[in-house]
Symmetry: C2
Subunit: 431 residues, 2 copies
Amino acid sequence: MGEETMNEVFEAVCDMADDAAYAQQTLAGASTERKNAVLLDVADALVGNAEAIGEANASDMRDAAASGMSEGLLDRLRFDAGRVAATAQGVRNVASLPDPVGEMVRGRNLPNGMRLNQVRVPIGVIGMIYEARPNVTVDVASLCLKSGNAVLLRGGHAARRTNEATLRVIGEVLADHGFGPSLVASVDRFGRDGALAMMEARGHVDLLVPRGGAGLIRAVVENSKVPVIETGAGNVHIYVDETADLDKALPVIINAKTQRVGVCNAAEKLLVNGAVAEDFLPVVANALTEHGVRIHADEAALTIIANAGIDGLDILPATEEDWSTEYLDYEMGIKVVDTMGEAIEHINTYSTGHTEAILSEDYSRIEEFTRRIDSAVVMVNASTRFTDGGMFGLGAELGISTQKMHARGPMGLEELTTTKWIGYGTGQVRP
Amino acid sequence: MGEETMNEVFEAVCDMADDAAYAQQTLAGASTERKNAVLLDVADALVGNAEAIGEANASDMRDAAASGMSEGLLDRLRFDAGRVAATAQGVRNVASLPDPVGEMVRGRNLPNGMRLNQVRVPIGVIGMIYEARPNVTVDVASLCLKSGNAVLLRGGHAARRTNEATLRVIGEVLADHGFGPSLVASVDRFGRDGALAMMEARGHVDLLVPRGGAGLIRAVVENSKVPVIETGAGNVHIYVDETADLDKALPVIINAKTQRVGVCNAAEKLLVNGAVAEDFLPVVANALTEHGVRIHADEAALTIIANAGIDGLDILPATEEDWSTEYLDYEMGIKVVDTMGEAIEHINTYSTGHTEAILSEDYSRIEEFTRRIDSAVVMVNASTRFTDGGMFGLGAELGISTQKMHARGPMGLEELTTTKWIGYGTGQVRP
């Protein structure tokens, strides 16, 4: 362990991917019934082994706390019996969802008598790189199994023992059902080199999904030779139009900013139309202050808010850097815009393409906003916190794609498939 | 021209992409009616200017011939009045196809009263890199315009004057309809650096599609920082099962191999089940020889064919390299396999994932083959030459994707879109 050269790690990871691909051939042809039976047994086995998993997690938590991990990250790392049970319930949800494999996407008869079907098929071997979130191990394994894919996991050093204990449970259930345990395998024993090897393993790993901090995702996107789906970065905007119902707007903004600050669908920026800025900004700044949110305001917003005499106000002038920053904290950038067009241009310039919202009661302006905003999700008069596979009814999610290729927005089962065309003929040749 | 540093070219290409993106915003919101009107006028204008385009092409052809271009490539480069008219008819076909933009992919009501729509939207700015095929300029422009995308073209030095003349015609029609000519623009004036700049222009170009030789495609796939769709390489296999109707099989094989040899959906390899090899190989070898096809045979096939006493037979022992070679010529690799499983493993090892075919009358074996083969298209008792956007009823095609992400197989209008989720609420917040 740790003794291998990078080249040896690369060979080992390619071998693991090839073993996974071999096992995946059996899974690809398995009936929905059989896959669901595996998932339900995984859920039961997780609950049955919650104590052992919890003990492994307690060791990980102790080391992480000793090494100075922040409270927020420690909370993500926690995988106690209660969380194991909740995650197991997620596996049962995935079992209850429709199986995307074999679904006919398009079907037609050609003039020459051939019958042409386009059907959904698994992608093959998925690589997943994430950090210190043991529940992701289970979510990803269940989504991949249901969609007929094998998966290689790099779950990070901090959660190593928790992930090991979890994968042992999943592997035993797979074996009981006659599937190879290489279907869901970890490259964590290779440390960071395991992640680097997956990024090089073009032709062995079919798709790589990084999930975590912006730095991790950027590194994978820029360096991977395997196709990548970019996920998660969320510099999320809310635009308050002059036609907004301001009483409705306030709770949506407060929910989007403060209901949970460390997540990608939390709002980071507020753009307010100048026509309502004098009325609305003091109200919203007061509410944000009550929730402990520091404000980064542009000049126009700063003047209005500073004059409002809000107790305990924490405000700074916004810098150019603020407009592209995802705070993931109790901080919000606020800007006054003269027109909706200015808001749209600002968003399309600085957004990471995750989620934006408009608060407005005007039909035509809503239509224009939803059409012109170039992001995965546009919310109308609703909190940006709804961008979530569970909320969208997709079951658990693998991540939220902020790119345009293959998948955009929350990635559920369907996004873990590709298609295959099958042409059924009786000897047709091309004239 | 040619005086710019690579950095200047990169800046210029990014500016062009940004101009294209700006013009694309108008196109994205244009009605189907308005886009079709543009396409029909483009078709008329191409026919009306066929002479000027043909003259430009004649100059390109003269230079290409003088520089020793092969007959096959010269034929691809030819864009005379007849071909211009045929290509213009393709533009009319695209106009007649359904508009994918705005199509609702999924729609549901959430338990909290929100209405959730997933709709198709254009991708944005497409970059296209191709070689010496002027008709591709028109095909790609028409597909991109109909699907609401802007496009930057690198059409290669050999076709430069032809492409210039064609793009002038398209640009004039765009201007007549109030669209910016930057919607369909060429980076050819920067030579090869134009292609390199597009590959670096992440955040400016949304998708890059290389179409051409294997070397070109590999270079783009390996070096591009912009998302790429891999197209075209076709090491295409036909498997003749012991259950095949051999009378039906022969014309399918001959059509797949010889109807047009220089294209990606032409068959390159023939795998014959050992149970019918003694009967069938002499027949097929005789027919291939009559069509001037050189055979690369494995040991078992070589013995059978050599003993058959075929006049004019051109046969060589197959090397390991043969199994992964796309000949694009009157050559075919032939191998005897003991079982269908061996054929499937051989194909999944050596194929480029384009198209494979099975010739069989046995239901269960066909089911197994179509399920286990990991390629974009599987043909049953039909020629591999049918893998084609036109044949599939998709209209013109941008290329044939051999990758699994985003698009697989012939890429038509739908494959040139991504999706956007829109959530319509009335003040909902996340509990």
